[in-house]
């Protein structure tokens, strides 16, 4: 579980996060949504420790990040898996080497044990015939699967995903969403996803945090987001005609 208490982050004169508090539970897919410039990326980077908040606390299962020693921070980082927007796979390594990288770096496993674990996660993310290929030789969807496999190979407690569906076709995007949700539930991971994709919000948003101008405007589940009358949320989520119709049908069905 990740608990965020009143975090503020300023860049020069501009206050990007103005006191955000929320809680991300383990075994749930937590989504951060909001317009461009709402502070989502800064929020995610603050959770990851890339940005240091000016005030407020972030605690990982009771461990307050800002109070940890450097060694404790490093140890905590090994419990974190991250799926980057552009996958961020290492070009110079094969798929197998990319996935095995965290094990090679942070564990004392033998090459045979690493191979066994890598094969297991490759199978888990349904990657076929890609072991010895380089990232440039596989499709965007496969790269995302490799990135997920690399993020989960060391059994992380916390999984962060930045726009995991960007650049993917709708069908592959759903497959990736479902894969993240399955893994989250299967391994009881605290998953936080930064997304613009409203399909993801509807499909896997067990908890949704909506940021606006650096403030937490609304939070709830994908069921509650249909019923909310918060104008900022409905303006953002139901900005397309398609989603307006979906919402109308959902609410009509709910009344019946």
């Amino acid at each position: 579980m990740i608990e965020v208490k009143n975090i503020v982050k300023q860049f020069g004169e501009q206050t990007v996060l103005k006191g955000v508090s929320t809680r991300f539970e383990a075994g749930m897919t937590n989504l951060i949504i909001g317009q461009s410039g709402s502070g989502k990326t800064v929020f995610l980077k603050s959770l990851l420790g890339i940005h240091t908040p000016d005030s407020g606390t972030i605690s990982f299962d009771g461990r307050i990040y800002s109070e940890l020693s450097n060694d404790e921070k490093r140890a905590l980082r090994t419990e974190i898996g991250m799926v980057f927007q552009g996958s961020a796979l290492f070009d110079s390594m094969t798929v197998e080497e990319n996935i095995g990288f965290p094990l090679k770096m942070f564990t004392n496993k033998t090459p045979a044990e690493i191979k066994e674990r890598v094969d297991f996660v490759i199978d888990r993310v349904h990657l076929v015939n890609a072991h010895h290929k380089r990232p440039s030789e596989i499709s965007g969807g496969m790269q995302k699967r490799v990135a997920i496999a690399r993020a989960i190979v060391n059994n992380p407690k916390y999984l962060f995903c930045d726009e995991p569906n960007s650049g993917l076709d709708p069908k592959t995007a759903i497959v990736i969403d479902n894969l993240i949700q399955e893994i989250t539930q299967e391994y009881n991971i605290t998953t936080v996803i930064n997304t613009h994709d409203m399909n993801s919000v509807m499909e896997i948003g067990e908890k949704i945090v909506f940021l606006k101008n650096g403030l937490l405007e609304w939070e709830g589940s994908n069921k509650e987001i249909f019923k909310t009358d918060n104008a900022a949320v409905t303006d953002f989520v139901y900005s397309s005609e398609l989603f307006k119709r979906v919402r109308k049908m959902y609410l009509e069905d709910d009344v019946k």
Binding site: L48, G49, I50, K73, R74, A75, R77, T78, I80, M82, F84, Q85, G86, A88, L89, F90, D91, F101, P102, K104, M105, F106, F160
Partner: protein
């Protein structure tokens, strides 16, 4: 402008300190070092050999063509070739050529890792990315004096070939020139410069790649800026070391 330069210099020295913090696991580092030796050292041998051989030849021919006075002994061709190649050509000018070859390779490879978030991925995993990326380059470049030693040998060999087979002097005369007024400290001076340039060649291009911002276009710009700055610093250090060691 001055403050910007000072801040960049400060950032460079902070980077140097950070490179030696939290070392990467030796089993991983060993492979990274071997890869860098292959990319940076072995991969440079061909071009260094080619340039050194022909430039050594040109130095010998130019010297020979300028020795028009019959009172000046022909062994000076060997002497001038040795002095030019050992003191300046091999350590300094090969290093400037390497600032273009190795330097742009280092900047563009680290810069590409920056723009594609690979460096962020390392940091999020808890890896000291500076140690992981730059330290193996520094260690690999400890072999750089071997490259410069080869350049010295081939430069002099090229000079000998051009002088003897070009009919400018005889082989014994050229060798006499090579041995004339030989000061062993000149070799030490050349290799002190080489070690200094090796450190600059590993770290300045890494600095420009690591701290670059932007996309593919900026990677290209960073490579150019890195080449310019590495060359400028090599020339300045060459001047300072020459003043300190030879004056």
């Amino acid at each position: 402008m001055l403050i910007r330069y000072l801040s960049q210099i400060g950032k460079y020295f902070i980077m140097l300190k950070e490179i030696f913090n939290k070392p990467t696991k030796w089993s991983v580092m060993k492979q990274l070092i071997l890869k860098e030796v292959d990319d940076l050292i072995i991969g440079s041998l061909g071009i260094v050999a080619f340039i050194s051989f022909f430039v050594g030849g040109v130095v010998a021919i130019q010297t020979a063509l300028n020795l028009t006075n019959p009172l000046i002994p022909k062994y000076l061709i060997g002497f001038a070739t040795r002095q030019s190649v050992v003191l300046e050509f091999a350590p300094t000018f090969i290093s400037i050529i390497m600032a273009g070859k190795m330097g742009s390779f280092i900047t563009s490879s680290i810069g590409t890792m920056r723009v594609t978030e690979q460096i962020d991925a390392l940091e999020v995993m808890g890896v000291n990315s500076l140690n992981y990326l730059v330290f193996p380059k520094i260690i690999a470049l400890l072999l750089y004096p071997f490259v410069i030693g080869l350049s010295m040998f081939l430069g002099i060999f090229g000079g000998w070939m051009a002088a003897v087979y070009g009919g400018f002097t005889s082989s014994p005369e050229f060798i006499t020139g090579l041995q004339t007024e030989f000061i062993p400290f000149h070799i030490a001076y050349a290799f002190i410069k080489t070690f200094t340039f090796a450190l600059l060649l590993a770290t300045i291009p890494s600095f420009h790649g690591y701290y670059m911002k932007g996309g593919a276009l900026e990677v290209g710009q960073a490579s150019t800026v890195s080449f310019v700055w590495t060359s400028v610093v090599i020339i300045l250090m060459n001047f300072i070391l020459t003043q300190l060691l030879l004056s």
